[in-house]
């Protein structure tokens, strides 16, 4: 029996990207909400709520990028030039917000600068990620194993919409995370943010979902063709369920439910994307199998990943367990 290594790796990479999106999503969301919170103690509290975990969260992005190069070099070689500008902007923005975590505490005079760099970096990085996603969804032309489009192809009304949708969506994750991790004045503000961002996220998920099938006949067939529709119908139904849970959670002032419901929305949106993409890794140009490196390279890398990924996951879960509970105004590692 031979293993379908490209498929296994596609699953692993998809998992890494999903973990990245939901984990870094809420800490980027904290940065997006930063400008709407004025008091210094509340800002300290917001940052402290993610300080111990954000770096680990972001490392999944490195795993995603490094993994793509290692196992799907052709996809890596096509996607990166196609998304040149959004990727570059995202990387630079991530630098600004990343160092803010550390530098902000090292200065009193310059604190406002690092506050700005944290908020601006978070918003810009998220918007760039959303644009990159939109550009990937609308498809990337390939000729002779290389990107065959123009330099501004990534910038379309659709990609701007997905960019905005991701900013609002991460803000929802951030707000519901704050509900879970804080109390008092900041938590009350977080409920308000969550109502607005929640409504916005659902509206934008709706618009993007309705627009996507019209981009590409494959998507249309996948979502509206008979009998495939029977297989995919649970996705929108579960989205509706999560929306209901979010509504109930926020109305009843529950602590954890809004966050879990928001995570559910993200996971389902991601599943929706996987359904649309499969079997392509670059829609509709390169499939998983044509992008994959030879099996020999895949199995060599799989050995390391099979040992280390579970360990890393365990660490991650352990770290979150340790930092459970409410965060105070001081004490990044309470």
């Amino acid at each position: 029996m031979t293993l379908d290594l490209p498929l296994i790796w596609a699953g692993l990479l998809a998992f890494s990207v999903l973990v990245y999106v939901i984990l870094d999503g809420f800490d980027l969301g904290i940065g997006i909400l930063f400008p709407f919170v004025r008091t210094e103690t509340a800002r300290d509290q917001m940052m402290n709520s993610v300080a111990p975990v954000w770096d680990g969260n972001q490392t999944w992005l490195v795993l995603g990028g490094g993994g793509l190069f290692a196992v799907f070099p052709l996809a890596y070689a096509v996607i990166m030039p196609a998304l040149y500008a959004p990727i570059t902007v995202m990387l630079l923005a991530l630098i600004f917000r990343g160092v803010a975590f550390e530098y902000r505490w090292k200065t009193r005079r310059g604190k406002f600068l690092w506050d700005g760099s944290f908020a601006g970096g978070s918003i810009l990085a998220t918007f760039a990620q959303g644009i990159a996603l939109g550009a990937l969804v609308q498809g990337i032309p390939v000729a002779n194993r290389a990107y065959a489009g123009g330099w501004w192809d990534w910038l379309t009304p659709f990609s701007v919409l997905t960019g905005a949708a991701l900013v609002v969506g991460y803000a929802l994750l951030g707000a519901t995370w704050l509900i879970y991790k804080t109390e008092g004045e900041l938590q009350r503000a977080a409920y308000r943010f969550a109502w607005i961002a929640g409504g916005g996220t659902l509206a934008l998920i709706g618009i993007v979902s309705l627009w996507t099938p019209f981009l590409n006949a494959n998507y249309m067939a996948r979502w509206f063709g008979w009998p495939q529709v029977l297989y995919v119908i649970p996705v929108p139904l579960l989205v509706a369920l999560c929306a209901l849970a979010l509504y109930r959670g926020l109305s009843a002032k529950r602590q954890l439910m809004p966050f879990l419901a928001s995570l559910g929305l993200f996971i389902l949106s991601f599943v929706g994307l996987v359904i649309s993409f499969f079997p392509y890794i670059v829609p509709s140009s390169v499939t998983i199998w044509s992008a994959a490196a030879p099996d020999d390279s895949l199995s060599f890398t799989l050995v390391g990943a099979a040992v280390l990924l579970p360990l890393i996951l365990l660490y991650t879960i352990h770290a979150y367990w340790v930092f459970r509970g409410k965060v105070g105004a001081t004490g990044g590692y309470r």
Binding site: G56, V62, Y76, T88, V99, W105, Y315, G332
Partner: protein, 473 residues
């Protein structure tokens, strides 16, 4: 012409982002090992001064490590954006090596860094020492994988080509332990150690100079200065030897690079060693050369009349740019011998028992503080520009490797990278220098537990939470 400009800009961008990145890991590799040594010496001797130094340098390590992580994220994506053809064709070989580097770094960050930085009181000194060793090992493991990938590009082995034009692996062992890898690994690790030693020595010397009249107990200053000078005495000659061996390996596999480094245009027996001169690539000669007869052949072939190949053996389009390589090699050599001199001088003063009372020695050590970084960059410039015009030596040229990119796009992103890096890493360097300006105290405080720090990674968790809870009760 336009594609040529885009190619040059992409090369400058890669050189810039990589140069900015490499200085932090190089410092981290050396400092992680230094911290492990300090920790071990403390456990062995029980002398508090080693513990104070450990707590002093770990704060600096934390900031430097954080900047290495931040600048490293960019590198993961740079291959794809600017060098997509290269990525596609070499991905099956280099991708897995880099994936292992990422996994090793991730594992290190996740596993032991938090304990090393915050956990001594909680996990006990033995386990804490183990974590420190693991961090040092992790930095070396990262270097192992990344240098395996880099060395393969210089001396490719264990590969075949498939129908799509991709390099595929026939033998992983041959890929990883390719001919230049052992030399490059040793040379780079020693370079990291020397770089760190000279930084530590400069900080020690600075406080010895400043604290001469005021401070009662300067044992920590003395200890770090002395340790750094021992490193200079012992490792600088080793590094020169390792560099020589690496050079002979390069002569075997990349003779054109050696010709450019030495400034030899003509193939001849009994070639001189050119100490200085002005390379003139268009007229194919070295102007104003000051040289030692026959020494070039003696060094390279171990025979004063040995034949050394010159650049004219290769057509012009297969030669590396001689000017930069010629000079960067000399800068590296000059710094290497200056380090050797400092080591010898310190040994002499030590023998005279005047090591801590010699202001001129201390001033020289302060001056030499950043020299390791300069030598490191000069060395990388030598080897990377010297292998032009190839990315995969002899098989794939740099011009073939580049993405079909627009000069304007690369130029704009390059300009942004430069501005951002100077702002961000300038600020980081400023914070590091501020930490160094303060001398180590007899009871050196640890890291403030209420400030987030990037290098804490995933795992400050168990340690800190218990520390806090313990403090609360």
């Amino acid at each position: 012409m336009e594609s040529l400009d885009a190619l040059l800009l992409a090369r400058v961008q890669f050189a810039f982002t990589l140069s900015a990145h490499i200085i932090f890991p190089a410092f981290s590799i050396g400092l992680a090992s230094y911290l492990a040594v300090l920790n071990g010496l403390w456990l062995l001797s029980g002398r508090g001064v080693f513990l104070n130094l450990f707590d002093y340098w770990k704060k600096i390590f934390a900031v430097a490590f954080g900047m290495g992580v931040v600048s490293g994220v960019v590198m993961t994506y740079q291959f794809g954006t600017n060098w997509s053809v290269f990525s596609d064709r070499t991905g099956p070989v280099l991708g897995p090596l880099m994936a292992y580097e990422v996994l090793a770094a991730f594992f290190l960050e996740a596993g032991f860094l938090g304990i090393m930085l915050f956990g001594r009181e909680r996990v006990g000194p033995k386990l804490h020492f183990f974590a420190t060793l693991m961090v040092a090992l992790g930095t070396l493991l990262s270097a192992f994988w990344i240098l395996a990938a880099n060395s393969w590009m210089h001396t490719p082995a264990g590969y075949a080509l498939n129908d799509a034009g991709q390099f595929i692996v026939t033998n992983w062992w041959a890929v990883i332990f390719n001919p230049s890898f052992p030399y490059r690994l040793v040379h780079m690790v020693l370079a990291s150690y020397l770089t760190t030693a000279f930084v530590v020595g400069a900080v020690g010397a600075h406080h010895l100079l400043k604290g001469r009249a005021v401070r009662q107990d300067n044992s920590a200053d003395r200890t770090m200065f002395s340790m750094a000078m021992w490193m200079a005495t012992a490792v600088a000659p080793l590094q020169i030897l390792a560099g020589d061996l690496h050079g002979l390996n390069t002569l075997e596999h990349q003779p054109a690079k050696i010709a450019a480094m030495e400034g030899h245009f003509e193939t001849r027996a009994g070639a001189p060693l050119i100490l200085f001169g002005i390379p003139n690539a268009s007229e194919e000669r070295i102007g104003y050369a000051i040289s030692v007869p026959k020494l070039g052949s003696l060094i390279l072939t171990h025979d004063p009349n040995g034949v050394v190949r010159g650049l004219k053996e290769w057509p012009k389009h297969e030669r590396p740019p001689v000017g930069i390589v010629f000079w960067s090699f000399r800068i590296m050599m000059a710094i290497g011998f200056a380090m050797l001199g400092i080591g010898a001088w310190s040994l002499f003063l030590r023998y005279q028992r005047r090591l801590y009372d010699s202001p001129w020695m201390h001033r020289a050590a302060v001056l030499m503080g950043p020299s390791g970084f300069a030598a490191l960059l000069a060395g990388w410039f030598t080897t990377e520009i010297g292998r032009q015009p190839y990315t995969v030596y002899g098989l794939m040229t740099t011009a073939e490797s580049v993405s079909a990119i627009d000069a304007a796009a690369v130029g704009a992103s390059l300009a942004t990278f430069i501005v951002v890096y100077f702002a961000i890493f300038g600020a980081g360097t400023f914070y590091i220098l501020r930490l160094m300006r303060r001398p180590p105290e007899p009871a050196e405080p640890g890291l403030p537990a209420d400030e987030p720090i990037q290098a804490a990674g995933l795992m400050p968790g168990p340690v800190l939470s218990r520390a806090k809870r313990g403090a609360a009760t």
